[in-house]
């Protein structure tokens, strides 16, 4: 199962949101999503991996946290990373336009965890 939906403000239903990236040394990076319309709290995410528009630089950041038992895994990770991000982004956008997801994000998460 795969689905996509816009993050929606629970107060005003706006899909216009801002990401506040909170970084504190020694802690996981957190993203506080704020409604751009009413300023209300929408959601919070804890970041495990970050990818910018410069995939190789992002990959280097991710690799700094990882250990690999062999080089083939690293080579595969690099190969997937360079092509995967842009392809996946396009796929997600396409999916968003075709799947009209009505459930809330938390409902989807609970459902997936059950299965």
């Amino acid at each position: 199962m795969e689905t996509v939906k816009y993050e929606t403000c629970p107060r005003c239903n706006s899909i216009d949101v801002r990401n506040n990236v909170y970084i504190k040394k020694g802690e996981s990076i957190r993203i506080y999503v704020e409604c751009a319309k009413c300023g209300g709290f929408v959601a919070r995410y804890a970041l495990t991996k970050y990818t910018s528009d410069k995939p190789y630089e992002s990959l280097l950041q991710n690799l700094r946290m990882e250990r690999f038992p062999g080089s083939r895994t690293v080579a595969k990770t690099i190969e997937e990373f360079s092509t995967h991000v842009s392809e996946a982004f396009e796929h997600v956008k396409k999916l968003r336009d075709t799947v009209k997801e009505k459930r809330k994000v938390e409902e989807i998460i609970v459902e997936i965890e059950k299965t």
């Binding site: 040394k25 020694g26 700094r64 946290m65 990882e66 250990r67 690999f68």
Partner: protein, 445 residues
Amino acid sequence: MKKWLSIGIAILLAVLVYLAPFEGLTEPARRTFAILIIAAVLWISEAIPLYVTSFVIAFLEVVLLKNVLNVSYKVYLYPFFDPIIALFLGGFVLSRALNKYGIDERITRAILLRTGNSPKRILFGMMLVSAFLSMWMSNTATAALMMTIAITIINALPEKDPFKIGLVLGIPFACNIGGMATPIGTPPNAIAISSLASLGISISFIKWMLIALPIVIVILLLTWWLLSSMYKSKVKNITLSMEKLPPMEIKDKWVVAVFIITVILWLTGQIHGIPTGVVALIPPIVLIGGGFIDRDDFRSLGWDILILMGGGLSLGVAMQQSGLAEWMVERLNVGGLASPILLMLIFSSITVVMTTFISNTSTAALVLPIAITIGAAPSALALITAFSASVAMILPISTPPNAIAYGSGLVSVKDMAKTGFVVTFISIFIVTGMSILLTRLLGYL
């Protein structure tokens, strides 16, 4: 499909080896030979994750060997928490803390700001930092950090400056070389120490460094000279634009203190008598207990590598106990070679060729049990095998740092192979010659 084919080949070869009429091969050794074949095929093909092969080894050993050798099944499971695994665990925690609190970046900055601005000196500084950090941290993490800095330097260079290639190659090469210097630098070192311990030969942390560090320095300088001669820059000076780091906070200082204390205790093991594996528990106790490292960090510490190492050690135990290693040495007649130096060069070359294509940990696990069984100079042979597992750097798939550098798109396979081959070839002789000399000086030969 390829995966199942490899698994099928592994099983088929194992059965053939088990049924083959090898002269003088006892039943336990025959069974161990079959396990060795399965492990080798799975490690080479990576049909299943490398660490899962370690579980396969442990499972097969318990099922196939326990009764014929009349030993407790725990014998094959103990290696998964061998003191050397504890040593590595401590090293992993330290490494994570150094990374998380940016101490690695501070060390990098401190060294690079003192090495000067000429391309040759910058290459030297980058390689020195890479090698130094790799002594204590994962080679992959170090290569990733140093490549980030290299890219900022490269962006400031003229478009077709050959120095770019030299810099990109210098980082992985130095990371591979630096890993040799300490017992926690790379898993083959640990497998060598643990294998020798099974023969009653103990190599302390400091003695390892006394042997390995001179070898590292010689190969590093040679590689630097080679790269700076082959890839000369078009510019005379490079300005390093490094952002000023904020002053160290109290938590950063704690991490540095734990690092220094742990390293001092590792180096002075013969004075205080606390085994290195036990000293290695200090970083987890202080850094996790003190909240410097959280549960998520702990979960992602590289357990797969520890399990891979455990499987390698467990396989070594089975090869020794069953007499397979001894039988192989007799059959190969390597002990009968006229020159022990030639024998060591052969082992170094075999290790290098294997490591060029498969994981260095798997290579060490396959070669070391045989190397230490050859009567003459097991210490020198074990060290040579471990070091040789680090000096193979011909292809992008040879080591994780090589793969990272190649992934930048700034070097071709040809560039890497051309320079990597020269470094690897010369290193075989340096590693063999200096290991013999230094083990003799320290009384291991």
